[in-house]
Symmetry: C3
Subunit: 347 residues, 3 copies
């Protein structure tokens, strides 16, 4: 996380759009974002970004139709820490993914990955649905542009693991704070792959899901390859991918694709934010990194080494002291408070 | 998939037996089968092979008792494409696996792997059971032959991943079309490992299963090591393998070993063939390869690279155009038809 | 398993304590324990070790409070073979893990790993609980000693995969006999990681579980990284680790963390010992090693090679002959008896 790029913080929140033209200069690689944390401010929802923040590049390249494809706000939790709520905001299209949306979601993940003040991230959709998937009509509307769009989505930058299509699902794994996807309405194709990239999926009872890509003669290529294998048996992944069929929240839960089905998943997600915010932010970040790095393809030796490595980081931090003091029952008046998550998890 | 071997197609279907003596010359390696597709013809079931097709080698080496240990037929699906039904056919022995059977099953898998016209494969057993496992009495009937038989089963050919014992389970993973095992009666030991090699397992309600090898003081060594880990928690695999106990279809389903339990699994499998045949054969083949290659031991980086690689193959094919046209709702009169699966998936 | 260290067998059972000071000389590495098997004797429970057995080192370094933190007894099974019951025995502290306990548990696992006569291992807790986890108060009671204790737990010996903290969970995987953890009361933090290291977990209905480390601002670093991924989807592992919440036996079972919930898990475990003891000890050891080595990060090629390799070992052993004779129904009078587990599995 080193970069010479500096930026101005938004005054009371921000929304973001990253465009093809501005991408190379704004963020050459996820592995080399700007130094330091993003000084986000608490805000109420919905938020509007001050135009001064985005600079001329964005103003030139963003269509008027999609001024704010992703909205970001902070929620103050009971203990004074913050949750960041990221809302896909193209409700008239059920938050379908056009190129603007891809850039904005990837940018939101990169930004929140740098934010040491965010304890938990909630990812949801505005309007009637979480996300209806790829906006095929928009992407294909202009034959010449289509080729260009697909190239933009699939181009692999040197030194970067994921391309833009994968970024929107994969980059949530690189956010040190846990990410909860809140799904409702529909969660299809690329939208489902975004939700699969989150650490947890809370869904309302009426949400419909699909690994939809087969409908277009394609396979899921927005990081589902990494996320499905951590959740379900291989015959489940194959059946849903090959048929592209719709399935409901109860089936998604029974298959293991959804963490929880509830009446009001956003409220449940906020309650879970409260729970998580009472834990050490370092321990939570370490747990996320620990399992993400070791769950599938790591040898016994390497996995044992990694758990010790991360524990050693925690043992050197202040939050283990404050956690132990609280854990052994010292009165809160003498219990030292928790500090922000260590820089270590943002590297 | 290169070979100088040519062959004559059967007139209306075929059954096959591959014998030890004919194996080396007929198919030196799964990685180098004959060029091109197998021009199978539609047929009704049961089928009988024209004797001229098999040539003298087979005639010499096959006992009269087991003229056709595996039968193969084509079923025409509603949209005119084909499903291939492969039937283990030694019903008087509950389709127990003797050496002839091993060769015939492996050959059937190799043949159908080259067949671009087959959209889905159904694998089932004739008579009262799917397969009762290794025919231990036959294999052990002659002490001298036993050693030879075991050597034949376990011999590893240079450049080939699996030996003959593993072929009968493993080679179904190399078939580009999805494979549905239909189990009934009993599905034991080697028989269960064959079924585990399929992409999906549909079982009737009365079928009994066992990882039976422990009964003989052995471990499953017909590719269950690869397939169990993609389906069940490790304590389940250990318990069933160590005890060799019998379990029924409902337990198999609840453990995740069976995809579906139904009254008539063959009818359900054919219905599933119809569903799959309406998808792009390229997308289906890509989905199968994608998960088979990445589900267990592939790094994040490699898995992300593979999903992009396969998507790029699909994007260059005709079937993505026809799928998108159908998907966006163009009238069928102007929707281009689907083509055969690309040669790419048969390499 | 080579070492020049010799030892005297206990007269009628033994309990063990391994202390920091004696560790380097007694057992420099799990990979180089003494040659040969441990000549354990059958005993009744509870057992007391003859003081002469442990030698002066232990006498000097063990506090009087914790004379026998782990008790070991042999149970004779119906067919005359043995189960070894290992009991965490610090009931006044709910078997909480202090440094003495860590050494004793690791030593018990190392010892039983060398014991060719033990067919099954049962691991349980004395008193009201299986294990309440790390004895944080004891470890932290003396600030100077705390640093030393943590260093002792986390120090990694050259050529050894696991450190002492990991040994107590990980080393059960190196025991050729299957290990059944019997849990009751509470099974928290480090205690749960010990149970996760067993091949099977039988729990009573009232047992409470937790991946408790988050309470101390830590992550599980006693081999849970290796064991959780073989049992549950990643979102389950993350949720339980991040929240450190308590969950009961029914939830543990439904999540896949527990193999079986029953009224009397110790009785069920002993019944399972009887079942396992009727199988070939070589086949059981091979099954355990097969899945432990291949379940997560092994390529198709390597996994297929390993299953053949282990099968070849079995085929050369006597127990496959006796198993086949029994399996094909030879009368017991002419059926050859089973022999001890081969040395191969103890290397």
């Amino acid at each position: 996380f080193r970069s010479s790029r500096s930026w101005a913080p938004p005054a009371w929140g921000y929304s973001c759009a990253r465009t093809p033209s501005s991408l190379p200069s704004l963020c050459p690689s996820f592995l080399s974002p700007p130094l330091g944390s993003v000084p986000l401010q608490a805000s109420t929802f919905p938020v509007f970004a001050p135009s001064s923040w985005f600079g001329p590049a964005r103003m030139l390249s963003t269509s008027t139709e999609q001024e704010e494809p992703v909205k970001i706000e902070r929620r103050t939790l009971k203990n004074g820490s913050y949750a960041t709520v990221i809302t896909l905001s193209r409700p008239e299209k059920l938050n379908a993914l056009d190129l603007n949306m891809f850039h904005a979601i990837a940018k939101a993940a990169e930004d929140v990955a740098r934010d040491r003040d965010t304890r938990v991230v909630v990812l949801r959709g505005a309007g009637r649905a979480f996300c209806s998937g790829l906006d095929v009509k928009s992407i294909l509307s202009n034959p010449l542009k289509s080729v260009e769009s697909i190239r933009t989505l699939m181009q692999r930058t040197e030194g970067k693991l994921s391309n833009l299509a994968q970024d929107v699902g994969f980059l949530w794994r690189r956010v040190p704070a846990p990410v909860i996807a809140v799904t409702h309405g529909v969660c299809l194709g690329g939208g489902f792959q975004i939700a699969l990239g989150a650490d947890f999926r809370f869904s309302d009872k009426t949400c419909n899901f699909s690994i939809m890509e087969g409908k277009w003669g394609l396979v899921p290529d927005m990081s589902a390859t990494i996320t499905l294998r951590e959740l379900v048996p291989i015959d489940v992944a194959k059946e849903l991918t090959m048929t592209a069929r719709i399935f409901n929240a109860d089936e998604a839960k029974s298959l293991g694709l959804i963490t929880k089905v509830c009446d009001d998943p956003f409220e449940e997600a906020l309650a879970f934010c409260e729970t998580l915010s009472n834990q050490s932010p370092d321990a939570v970040a370490a747990a996320k990194q620990l399992f993400n790095r070791t769950y599938v393809d790591t040898s016994e030796e390497e996995a044992l080494r990694i758990e010790s490595e991360l524990q050693n980081v925690l043992l050197k931090g202040w939050n283990v002291v404050s956690s132990v003091a609280k854990g052994v029952g010292l009165p809160s008046v003498v219990t030292p408070g928790r500090t922000k998550r260590s820089d270590y998890w943002h590297k």
